[in-house]
Amino acid sequence: MALIPDETRQQLKERFQTRLSGPVRLTLYTKPGSSRLVLPSGLGCPTCDDARQIAELIRDSAPDKVTLEIVDISQDGARAEIDEVFEVPTMAIAADTNPGRIRFQGLPTGSEFPALIDAVERVSSGDHGLKPETVTALAKLTEPTEVMVFATPT
């Protein structure tokens, strides 16, 4: 099934042409997919294949700026450990070679898709869009801090 309509592909291509400036490194952490087969919790990954399609869509929309690495955590457990990725699919977005600190766990569809595109564009341009007061306040964080936001596609 083609998850992404051609119209969306074209729109994204045009959008990225003007909005991406710097390189973006996408890392998709997956396990071998089991398609629509429902397996007991922890086995397989029913949404990994769809997540791969979304990650590839982003890369293919701006192949000169976006690189995509796919990490199979069932094969490369050490890497998952280092990058602290324990659930799949997880997509991490980075501008440099560090493990991406903006991550989407689960399939970023529906209302999460614009958030994903926004994150890619912001990482590329380096423009976080936050108020100066916010940046000042965030400087008070001296320890690694995880901000985990639960969302739904609707």
Binding site: Q105, G106, K140, L141, V147, M148
Partner: protein, 75 residues
Amino acid sequence: MASAQVRALCVEANEFPELSNHFRVRGVPHTVINRRAAFVGALPEPDFVAATLEGAGVNVDEEPGPHQDVPTSSR
């Protein structure tokens, strides 16, 4: 991006029911700081930052701004 200390993780709540249950997610957006402190709703930026710092255990001794228009969405 604005802080090298912060890692942002957006979790699709329906896809990870065990995680959602663990953090007692009843509505979205539901934000959990360091797997410890939580707040619900799409807060305005200053409130979001304040709640994040508080959740991270940072002493915020500045006077809190008057933000009465705090929308909370639950669905």
